[in-house]
């Protein structure tokens, strides 16, 4: 997506948005880890194998896996940012998703000159692992 900074447009890739969102989400208490989709897991695994074959440096995103964030650019509305998490239940799942949503939204708002309605953050609790 393109954001404006003064007179100069700045292009921010979906991957950059996903990384910003993942970083903001994984830091929230109650988030055990992020949950990438199967497609992203397979893609990531294949990339690792390809990199090891070509001796390219490996890319380790750590716990802030951008594969757990889906970015959907909409022509008729705000950009949808879907974050998939595994919740621990302490604090409650509901409090956790609210905190994740707020944190991700705030992180994305640090991009220059975006209106508060530029993004819709959707949090999906894929599973819970109580006590983790």
């Amino acid at each position: 997506m393109t954001v404006e900074s003064g007179d100069i447009p700045v292009v921010v890739s979906d991957l950059a948005l996903a990384k910003i969102s993942a970083q903001a989400a994984v830091a929230i208490p109650g988030v055990v880890r992020l949950a990438p989709t199967l497609t992203k897991v397979v893609h990531s695994a294949l990339s690792r194998v390809a990199r090891s074959l070509t001796n390219a440096p490996s890319v380790d995103h750590g716990p802030a896996d951008p594969g757990a964030v889906e970015i959907e650019q909409r022509t008729d509305g705000p950009t949808a940012v879907t974050v998939r998490i595994i919740a621990g239940g302490d604090p409650s799942v509901l409090a956790t998703v609210d905190a994740v949503s707020e944190s991700v939204h705030s992180a994305l708002m640090t991009l220059p000159d975006l209106s508060a309605t530029a993004f819709e953050v959707i949090v999906v609790v894929v599973d819970t692992e109580p006590g983790r």
């Binding site: 949950a35 990438p36 989709t37 897991v41 695994a45 074959l53 799942v93 509901l94 999906v124």
Partner: protein
């Protein structure tokens, strides 16, 4: 001698009239003819291909070692995505939020298993399916919960079922802000407590 700058090895014919790709292929297979052995253009192309051919052979022969973490990561995701279940909208304050039926089930099983004299065998959560899955949460749906469990010998099953219903309802409300339309507790087995005398 080398190809000139504008010569694309994939599309151009060399000055000697040979297709460079065919020359390289034949050389790699060890089927060079007399012309290829003496032609400077063909020889230059074969020499230029040596590093690539060597690298390709090396990659082909190299055993691929999958990382130890690969299989668990893939299978964990496979199971979570293959489990049937709907996304249940949560009454979140900030933005939209959903929990999978599996997420709710895991939390219920964890809390119910902490009840004395009660062991969960199976817990299922069903969101109403008489309306399409909402695009965004409006109101949280009332859920139907079914728990199959074992109870300790000689306990009051009715009282135990009531306690289990209370725990399930409290977990749903506290953790997810959800309510249950029904909570069915089915005792499918009994067990003898360790240390109990019969």
């Amino acid at each position: 001698m080398a190809l000139n700058e504008n010569q694309d090895a994939g599309t151009e014919i060399m000055p000697c009239g040979r297709d460079p790709l065919e020359v390289v292929d034949r050389a790699r297979l060890g089927r060079m003819n007399a012309h290829m052995r003496t032609c400077p253009y063909c020889q230059a192309m074969i020499t230029a291909d040596l590093p690539a051919g060597s690298a390709a052979t090396s990659l082909r022969d190299e055993s691929v070692q999958a990382p130890d973490t690969l299989l668990p990561a893939v299978m964990s995701t496979v199971w979570s995505e293959l489990r049937p279940g709907r996304n249940i909208p949560l009454p979140a304050v900030n933005g939209s939020a959903f929990a999978t039926e599996q997420a709710v089930t895991s939390m219920l099983e964890h809390d119910l298993d902490r009840l004395p004299d009660f062991v969960v065998h199976l817990c299922s959560v069903e969101a109403p399916d008489d309306e399409p899955e909402p695009v965004e949460p409006r109101t949280a749906p009332a859920l139907r919960i079914e728990v199959r469990a074992a109870a300790a010998y000689a306990v009051d099953l009715a009282a135990l079922a009531n306690r289990a219903r209370g725990v399930a309802a409290e977990t749903l409300l506290h953790q997810f802000g959800l309510v249950a339309e029904t909570i069915d507790i089915n005792f499918v087995d009994v067990y003898e407590q360790q240390g109990a005398t019969t």
